[in-house]
Every structure is written in structure tokens, then in C-alpha cells.
């Protein structure tokens, strides 16, 4: 599936919750819990993206022309957001990742997590995903 198709799928998934923010957050937390664990040795200093409060670790590699991301966070809500980003951007071509607008975050009502004051490291994580993709485009 393309990035946009996955975004659409997530939008439909979240539409189900309507205005019920508690259900939405419960789902987000479940997504965080379901994210495959990364190995402790992958939580290196280079992989860490420092938010003010919660930390995110991100690793990537290029396999068969597609970026594969793995990530983790010490906060579960952040981890849920991380899971969404991985679902959308992992296993995609680097050039598509660089171009992705990620409008779905607004549509599912979680855009507030991307405000720079959120201190959760997500904005930096998206920037880092794009940067790592970009470095593969150039080669």
C-alpha cells in the first residue's frame, strides 16, 4: 500500500471512535503496546531522539529499496504515535517518505502531539525519519 492509502486506512479506523477521546486514546495506547519491541542494544545514544520528557529510539535500514524503521519510546502514548508513524512510513520508498505530508494526524485529531511544545520528541522523530530517507535518495 502507498503512504496515502495507509493514511486513509488509519483515518477510517479512527473515525469509528467519533468524539470519544477516551476510546481513541485507549486505541493509541494499545497500538503502543503492540509495537514490536526493539532490542536493548538498539537503544543506543545515536538512535535516541530527545524530547524534553519522553524519549524515542529510532533505527532504520534500506532493504530492497525500501526504508525499514524500528522504534521505541519510554512513554506509551508517545509509543502509540510512534507505531502510527512506522505503520505509515516503514516499508516505503525513500523518495515517497521525503514527500509525505502526513495529513492524517490532523484528521484523526492527534495533531496536538506534533506541537513543538509537546516535548515528546515526535516532531524530531518525523524529521529524523525524513532525513534518513533523504540520505538514501541521494545515493
Amino acid at each position: 500500500m502507498s503512504i496515502e492509502e495507509i493514511e486513509q486506512e488509519i483515518i477510517e479506523e479512527f473515525e469509528f471512535f467519533g468524539e470519544d477521546w477516551e476510546a481513541k486514546y485507549e486505541h493509541l495506547i494499545d497500538l503502543g503496546k503492540a509495537l514490536p519491541l526493539i532490542k536493548e542494544e538498539q537503544k543506543t545514544e545515536e538512535a535516541i531522539i530527545k524530547g524534553c520528557q519522553s524519549r524515542v529510539w529510532l533505527n532504520s535500514e534500506l532493504i530492497d529499496g525500501k526504508m525499514m524503521f524500528t522504534a521505541d519510546s519510554d512513554a506509551i502514548i508517545t509509543k502509540g504515535m510512534v507505531a502510527l508513524m512506522i505503520r505509515v512510513l516503514s516499508n516505503q520508498k525513500p523518495e515517497d517518505i521525503v514527500k509525505a505530508e502526513l495529513k492524517f494526524l490532523d484528521k484523526i485529531g492527534l495533531k496536538e502531539h506534533l506541537s513543538p511544545t509537546r516535548a515528546n520528541g515526535l516532531v524530531s522523530m518525523i524529521n529524523r525519519m525524513k532525513k534518513e530517507a533523504l540520505s538514501q535518495v541521494k545515493i
Binding site: E22, C52, Q53, D74, A75, I77
Partner: protein, 408 residues
């Protein structure tokens, strides 16, 4: 609930509290960061700019005289509240951080020597660490730290052993901004006086919650921020003992601090003005004094008792939630509670509480060394003010339980 405090009436004076966050009524439990401002304070600032604004201490015209009078009346009002002997001992600064930096720079210029030692406590705010650390780095100085004892109070027995002939200052928080624990200044002073070491008290978190009598407290330096005491941001105070009012060197110079200036030499003013370089925050000082009138009308002791009751009640409620770990569970606390939820990140708990309209603080609270002592990343902190109520706490406890269920 304390019979003297009528929170319903008090809340009417804080229009900001009357709003919804994510469709829930706002519950503001982040008063340790800054308190909300009553209408009287807000109006005093706008009235000043509408009717009296002029620069002070320098004009013969009517407005300048009136502005100067109001500014100096503000100094007197605040002096009386803290029972300071002479209003010249009260210097207006930009706040706690500014005051501590001023003292550190002044002491560095003609009091502290290379190789000297300063004693701090394990629960200091970064603002009472960094100015001393900067001095220490530049002067081969040393910072010694009073460790924590049981229940995160200070280990006063260990404190005395830190003293050496090189100890030149003891700088401690009156109340820990993270734990709410009250420091026993009498114990600190007893040792300090024996060894003739000056004491600086960071009152940022005590001034909002306790009656402070600076003649009784009798320390060398006391500092606090007005914005944590229902007053505007950008202003605070530095209290100097009579000895230091005469002996402290100036760290900032400029207009306002002088008697006469030639290109060769300056004769400085006496008293507080010597330390207040440049145009001060005149409206801020007036707002500060208005906040003090607000407090004094209710009575600081009543505020203390009200908030103490809220702290006791909350601690009792929290201790019934098995997943909650509380820090600093002392009887002697002022206004602040810190806790964690087992296996949950404070950030997650704070995020969910915010969705319920409850403003708490999460993280290290500018006390990273304390976090290292406790071996944690951060805590969830709730801190009270006079307008908080038991029913807000009940709602908070209910939503905290719900959040824990969602997270675990």
C-alpha cells in the same frame, strides 16, 4: 475544609479559572510553576498604565512623583508583609533566578575566594545550583551537597559534617519545589551561626504558602518570585540582612543607582537603589504589592491551613491507590505533592490528565540532581493555591484512577 477560606468567593476573583479545557472544567494544579492572578492585581497594573505611568525617581512633574510614590509604597507594603525591619533591605529584582545570580556575582567579586566551598541541598532547583556552579568552575571552588534522609527530608546530621574552614555560604531552598518538603532553617542556622557562615534561603516555594517573618528567620539573603504569589511575572525580591545591605558589592550598575557620576568616578546611592540599575518593573512592583494585599486580606495562616488540608487529603487519597508511589511524605509540607504511577511514564499520566482538563506538571521540575538521587526520570507534581478545592481533588483522583486503568 477550613472555615475561614471561602473558595467560592475567592474563585470569583480569578476569571481564568472559569473555563473549559477539552470540555472539562479547568482544574489548575500547577501553581508551583506560577499561580493565577486575581482581578485586583490585573486591574492595578492596567490602572497604573491608564492613570499614573511615568518614570520614577527622576522627574519633578506630578505623574513622576505619583509613580515614585506608588512604587515606594509597593516596597513598604511588601516589606510589612515579610516583616522586614527597613524597607531598604528589600530590593526589587526580576525574580528568584535573577536574585540568586545577583548575589552570586556580587559575592564572587569581593567575598568568595578561589578554592572556597558552598553548601547546597540535594533538592535545589537548577536556579540555586547553576550560579554557584558557574562560580565554582571559574574559581576552582567546590559545591557540597546536603544528602536526603528518610522520606526525602534533608539529612541534618550529615549537613554539619560538610562544614569546613573553606565553607563560605550555605544556600538552600526553604521548600522543595518538587517534593513540597519544608527545610528546617533553624537547624541550618544553628550550624551556620556557630561557624559564622552566611545563609541564603530560596523562598520561591515558601513565600506562596507560608507566613514569612524575615526578622525572625534572620538569614543573610532571602529571595522569591512574585509570579508564584498571585502577582505578575518579571518581578521578585532580594532581601539583604542589614550587614549585607552595606557590604554587598553591586553586580549591575547604571542609571538609578548613583548619587554623582563623572567619567573618573561614581558615587553610588545608598540602600536598595544602589542595586536597582535601570528603570525597574514599576507596574510589576505595584502588581506585586496588590497581590500581597490580596493575601493579607485572607491571611497567610489561613491560606497555609487550607493548603495543608488539601495536601493531607490528597496524600491520603493517593495512598489508597496501589499503583501510586509518593515522594517526600513528610508532615511538614507546603502546597506540593510529587508522585509516580508504577510502570507508567509521568508524561503519559500528565497527557491523560490534561485531556480531563487537569493541569499538572510532569518531568524533572528543574531538579535533575534530585531525580538522580531518587533514581527516577521524573514525577507528576500537583501544587495547590488558595482557590483549589476538595471537590477538584476528588475529580482528579477519579480521573487519575481512570488514567491508570487506561495505561496499565
Amino acid at each position: 475544609m477550613s472555615k475561614v477560606i471561602n473558595t467560592e468567593n475567592i474563585r470569583k476573583q480569578f476569571p481564568i479559572l472559569n473555563q473549559k479545557i477539552n470540555n472539562y472544567p479547568l482544574i489548575y494544579f500547577d501553581n508551583g510553576a506560577t499561580t493565577q492572578k486575581p482581578l485586583s492585581v490585573i486591574n492595578s497594573i492596567s490602572d497604573f498604565y491608564k492613570n499614573t505611568n511615568a518614570n520614577i525617581h527622576r522627574g519633578v512633574h506630578t505623574l513622576s512623583r505619583k509613580a515614585t510614590e506608588e512604587f515606594e509604597l509597593a516596597r513598604k507594603t511588601i516589606t510589612n508583609h515579610f516583616n522586614i525591619k527597613n524597607d531598604q533591605q528589600l530590593i526589587f529584582t526580576a525574580g528568584t533566578t535573577d536574585s540568586i545570580n545577583m548575589v552570586a556575582q556580587s559575592l564572587a567579586s569581593n567575598y568568595l575566594q578561589a578554592g572556597d566551598e558552598i553548601i547546597l541541598s540535594a533538592y535545589e532547583h537548577h536556579s540555586n545550583i547553576l550560579p554557584w556552579q558557574l562560580w565554582a568552575e571559574q574559581n576552582n571552588g567546590k559545591l557540597k551537597v546536603i544528602p536526603l534522609a528518610e522520606n526525602e527530608t534533608l539529612d541534618y546530621a550529615a549537613f554539619e559534617k560538610l562544614i569546613s574552614e573553606k565553607t563560605k555560604l550555605i544556600a538552600v531552598a526553604h521548600v522543595s519545589n518538587t517534593l513540597g518538603v519544608i527545610t528546617d532553617i533553624e537547624k541550618i542556622k544553628a550550624v551556620a551561626q556557630k561557624h559564622k557562615i552566611p545563609v541564603l534561603v530560596d523562598g520561591a516555594q515558601s513565600a506562596p504558602h507560608m507566613q514569612i517573618d524575615l526578622q525572625k528567620l534572620n538569614v543573610d539573603f532571602f529571595v522569591c518570585s512574585a509570579h508564584k504569589i498571585y502577582a505578575p511575572t518579571g518581578i521578585g525580591l532580594l532581601y539583604l540582612s542589614e550587614k549585607w545591605l552595606n557590604e554587598l558589592s553591586v553586580s549591575k550598575v547604571g542609571g538609578g543607582t548613583i548619587k554623582t557620576v563623572t567619567f573618573e568616578k561614581t558615587e553610588y546611592a545608598e540602600g536598595a537603589l544602589r542595586f536597582e540599575a535601570g528603570t525597574p518593573d514599576i507596574a510589576g512592583a505595584i502588581g506585586f504589592a496588590e497581590a500581597i494585599r490580596f493575601i493579607d486580606e485572607i491571611g497567610m495562616q489561613n491560606i497555609f491551613e487550607h493548603e495543608h488540608e488539601l495536601v493531607q487529603y490528597t496524600q491520603q487519597q493517593l495512598s489508597q491507590i496501589p499503583e501510586v508511589i509518593m515522594y517526600g511524605k513528610s508532615e511538614h509540607k507546603a502546597g506540593v505533592i510529587s508522585f509516580n504511577v508504577k510502570n507508567a511514564h509521568p508524561f503519559d499520566v500528565g497527557t491523560l490528565l490534561d485531556k480531563y482538563g487537569i493541569a499538572v506538571r510532569t518531568g524533572h521540575h528543574c531538579t535533575q540532581p534530585l531525580m538522580q538521587c531518587l533514581n527516577i526520570q521524573g514525577t507528576i507534581r500537583i501544587s495547590f493555591a488558595v482557590y483549589n478545592t476538595k471537590s477538584e481533588i476528588d475529580f482528579f483522583i477519579e480521573k487519575l484512577k481512570k488514567s491508570i486503568k487506561m495505561l496499565l
